[in-house]
């Protein structure tokens, strides 16, 4: 059949074909596959991920992160550390004071991105992070982590567009629900790369329609009525000013009621532990008053996504000043269902 050495020659022919092939490879990267790295970087696919960063809209003050610590708890190697910001009175500010990511530990698994209910943390694709030092250079603090939504749109266009659309829809839904909010006319967060002029710079309730706004006479009349009605309603209903301020992009003002004033009893609230399951928490509050039961139905992360901490939201619902039962984002549908159930039981719904 063959002669001794035929296999060797066949193999050499393959090597020779590949060697010659590199000269005739014109950009197909079939044979000549090398990327001249520092000058010519291999294109990164959109999904490519390196380390997390925090998204802000417009200015770094308007970061989406509310310091709910969900990512901190879910992070498999525990490389995230968050401390919530508080004002002088100790009132939580719905934003982190400290947000550290130790990228010398981060395993780039993207679980923080998946669990974040606020679309606040996303994966960057910058991989050139070699450093001489370990301790200071490899810990990313809040200022290093904050990057704009435009940057996010730039590196991951498809994903970012979907996120923007989702946030816009959510904001509109929120605005529609509480028709009383003056910010209803504007998108809650400037989603497009070019942020729209914020009507919120005018004090709430005193919004005037600009002369050059593209409205017909009827629309103008309706809008004027709508806005003024909203202004009146704001002071009347229990919509929290923090939520309003947040949607309009102003720095949050503290709640007049100062909800966290409700001090925990000496024994603490035993159900106030995010590690417990819903049924376990409900068992602990079988004989407790309604407010405690409502609180036990929350996710117990004190994330302030609803505008309160868990205690404050429960008290507000129990007192009737808050009627929306779907504000607890970390608890998802489970909490909303339970809250509705409890309110029905108590005959308040």
């Amino acid at each position: 059949m063959g002669f001794l050495g035929k296999g060797l020659f066949q193999g050499m022919a393959v090597t020779a074909r590949n060697f010659v092939g590199t000269y005739f490879d014109r950009g197909t990267r079939e044979k000549l596959v090398t990327y001249q790295y520092p000058e010519e970087k291999p294109p990164l696919p959109e999904n490519s991920r390196s380390f997390p960063f925090l998204v802000y809209d417009g200015t770094p003050d308007a970061m989406r992160c509310v310091a709910c610590k969900i990512c901190e708890t879910e992070c498999p190697p525990q490389c995230i550390y968050i401390v919530m910001d508080r004002d002088e009175k100790g009132k939580p500010q719905q934003r982190p004071k400290v947000f550290d990511i130790d990228i010398s530990v981060c395993m780039q698994c993207q679980i923080c991105v998946e669990v974040c209910p606020f679309e606040a943390i996303k994966m960057d694709n910058d991989y050139e992070k070699s450093q001489y030092g370990r301790f200071d250079d490899l810990i990313e603090h809040l200022p290093d982590l904050l990057k704009s939504n435009e940057y996010y749109n730039e590196i991951k266009p498809t994903e970012a567009k979907a996120v923007d659309a989702k946030l816009k829809a959510e904001a509109e839904k929120k605005a529609k629900k509480g028709t009383s909010k003056p910010a209803a006319a504007a998108p809650a967060k400037p989603a497009a790369p070019a942020p729209a002029p914020k009507p919120a710079t005018a004090p709430a309730g005193k919004i005037t329609i600009p002369e050059d706004a593209p409205f017909t006479a009827e629309q103008r009349a309706w809008l004027a009525g709508f806005l003024s009605a909203g202004g009146v309603a704001t002071s009347g209903t229990g919509v929290s000013p923090v939520a309003v301020a947040e949607t309009t992009g102003e720095t949050p003002v503290p709640l007049p009621e100062a909800t966290p004033a409700a001090e925990a009893p000496a024994g603490g609230w035993p159900w106030h532990d995010p590690g417990l399951g819903m049924s376990q928490r409900m068992d602990l509050v079988k004989a407790a008053p309604l407010a405690d039961k409502l609180m036990a139905a929350m996710a117990q992360t004190d994330c302030h996504a609803c505008g309160y901490d868990c205690r404050g939201y429960a008290d507000a619902i129990a007192a009737g000043s808050e009627t929306d039962l779907s504000l607890c984002l970390p608890g998802e549908a489970e909490t909303a269902k339970k809250l509705e159930e409890l309110m029905k039981e108590a005959g308040k719904l």
Binding site: T34, P38, P76, P77, Q131, R134
Partner: protein
């Protein structure tokens, strides 16, 4: 070191290249880094990938992966260093000739990374041997390793001849102590001469807090 940049460029125009000996020496060193063929875990595969055809580490003169530490300048600690493996890592480092460099590639080599809570995982190879460049990532992309090699080349280019370096000191020992296997842990768990907890974190001790 002071020399006339203007004169240098003037001479360059007429085809005469003038270099201080130090720069020439460093130029030679930085473009012929021979790494030790030393893979520990996942990152080693990316290390091989960066030496393979697509990323081609040979363009930086660093493709000669030596199987013996006696011929290597650079140890790429690519992967998790476990306590069982550490004595061998230190021994290999001791066997490398000076001047030698260490790149800690990947989260595990820097700090133990995702496995840092494990009982058999060393929380960073810099507890026992000095590390020059750290590459975060799990695993870092091959480009990131090439970037680290370029970072190391910058470091080599900046080193002055004859001073400030470990290997120029007559009395300096280049042998790092090799820890022993203990009943529960390595003994000692860290080499205090190489590794200190960072200064700015040591400013408050528990005693001070308790005093308050």
């Amino acid at each position: 070191m002071a020399y006339d940049e203007g004169l240098k460029s003037e001479l360059q125009k007429s085809g005469i290249f003038v270099l201080p000996f130090e720069q020439l020496y460093n130029w030679g060193r930085k473009n012929s880094i021979w790494p030790l063929q030393f893979g520990l875990a996942c990152c080693a595969i990316e290390m091989i990938a960066s030496a393979a055809s697509r990323y081609d580490l040979a363009r930086f003169g660093a493709e000669v992966f030596r199987a013996t530490p006696r011929q290597a300048d650079l140890m790429i600690v690519a992967g998790t260093v476990t306590k069982k493996m550490l004595p061998q890592v230190v021994r290999l480092f001791n066997q490398m000739p000076e001047p030698k460099y260490v790149i800690a590639m990947g989260a595990c080599a820097i700090s133990g990374g995702p496995f840092k809570d494990g009982y058999n995982v060393l929380k960073g190879v810099d507890r026992f041997i000095p590390v020059d460049v750290h590459i975060p990532g799990c695993p870092p992309r091959p480009e990131a390793l090439i970037h680290a090699i370029m970072t190391l080349q910058r470091k080599i280019a900046g080193q002055t001849l004859g001073q400030d370096q470990r290997w120029y000191e007559k009395s300096a020992t280049t042998e790092f102590p090799i820890p022993a296997f203990g009943a529960h842990d390595l003994e000692p768990p860290a080499n205090r001469e190489v590794w200190q907890p960072p200064r700015n974190y040591t400013d408050v001790t528990i005693a001070e807090v308790l005093k308050k």
